[in-house]
């Protein structure tokens, strides 16, 4: 049973669903308030969706300086698994734990609807229960979802297999290279714009997102560091 800390910022609004999704996967999930500095021996940290600090200045720009973020950065540096969903993804980018940034949707409208994403990488702590190339239906709910990264970093992300999910059928927000989620060089920090926690049971209209939480529960938080080997530039899970 993994210990999963769901961080709550002022303005988080997907924290309860995220906690419920982690518990449904068998995790020992609990909330950690943004002013706390103790993650209570978490194996996994999740930054949930919402509108922390009202999205003032830029989405995630103020939350990244919360007290708890020092502990989150330390956990990430030690190889611990971190997942940022929607606003959590924005916070991880602002904190420099993931490359790039998220800007206003290309067509300006706030989008609240299902999208389709292809699983590009299955050697992360949050995607190991998916098949490579699987297409998932997941909802988005964001105004600032356009993933932007400079061309050099975009090339590097592609060359090092760090695009974890990619929009298919359409690019809802104008993201660079249709990127819906990325991972860091250590492959332990992952961000995703759509909401897997909102599709984790048939009653919610589908369960394409459930395996994000089952993946994290099944794997040791630090397992990937020792157990993912690159052979001929391809990452193998052993």
């Amino acid at each position: 049973m993994k210990r999963v800390a769901v961080i709550v910022f002022p303005g988080s609004n997907c924290d309860a669903e995220t906690l419920a999704a982690a518990r449904a996967a068998g995790s020992d999930a609990y909330f950690v308030w943004h002013r706390d500095t103790d993650l209570r021996q978490a194996d996994v940290v999740i930054l949930p969706g919402g509108f922390s600090y009202g999205d003032y200045l830029r989405s995630g720009a103020i939350a990244r300086f919360s007290k708890v973020m020092g502990a989150v950065a330390e956990h990430a540096r030690a190889g611990g698994a971190v997942l940022g969903i929607c606003n959590g993804f924005q916070i991880l980018c602002e904190a420099g734990l993931l490359p790039g940034g998220l800007m206003r949707n290309a067509r300006l409208r706030f989008l609240s609807r299902p999208v389709w994403v292809r699983v590009e990488q299955t050697d992360t702590p949050f995607t190991c229960f998916y098949e490579p190339g699987e297409v998932l239906e997941l909802p988005v709910a964001h105004g600032d979802g356009r993933y932007v990264v400079d061309p050099r970093t975009a090339t590097e992300l592609e060359a090092t297999d760090r695009v974890v999910w990619r929009y298919v059928r359409d690019n809802p927000n104008g993201s660079t290279n249709e990127i819906a989620g990325v991972t860091n060089a250590g492959r332990n920090v992952v961000g995703i714009m759509p909401h897997p926690e909102r599709r984790d049971a048939p009653a919610l209209g589908g369960q394409d997102g459930a395996r994000v939480f089952h993946s994290m529960e099944a794997r040791h938080a630090t397992q990937h560091v020792a157990d993912v080997r690159a052979v001929d530039d391809r990452h193998l899970r052993v």
Binding site: R58, F65, C93, M103, N105, G174
Partner: protein, 87 residues
């Protein structure tokens, strides 16, 4: 210590799509201002800063921009300082 007014202009990177600027541009065209070739939209922040000198006020404001006020991935900024009157 003197008080300086630092004005910070934060703009989306020139190479990046600025959909808000485009929407304003289309609205201006619709109102008959066809002479507008391009609109870019950013943020303007006004900071009252206490500092020993104008240079120090600028240097501190630059540090604020680098850490918080602008995101170097998506935005550029520039600064202007006024004042210097002792308060």
């Amino acid at each position: 210590m003197s008080a300086f007014r630092v004005e910070v202009r934060v703009m989306p990177r020139a190479a990046l799509l600025d959909p808000q600027g485009q929407a304003v541009e289309h609205a201006l065209h619709a109102l008959g201002f066809g002479e507008v070739a391009r609109v870019r939209m950013g943020k303007h922040l006004v900071l009252d800063v206490k500092a020993a000198s104008r240079d120090e006020a600028l240097e501190r404001a630059r540090a604020m921009c680098d850490r918080l006020l602008a995101n170097p991935v998506t935005e550029d900024y520039d600064l202007a300082v006024d004042g210097g009157a002792t308060r």
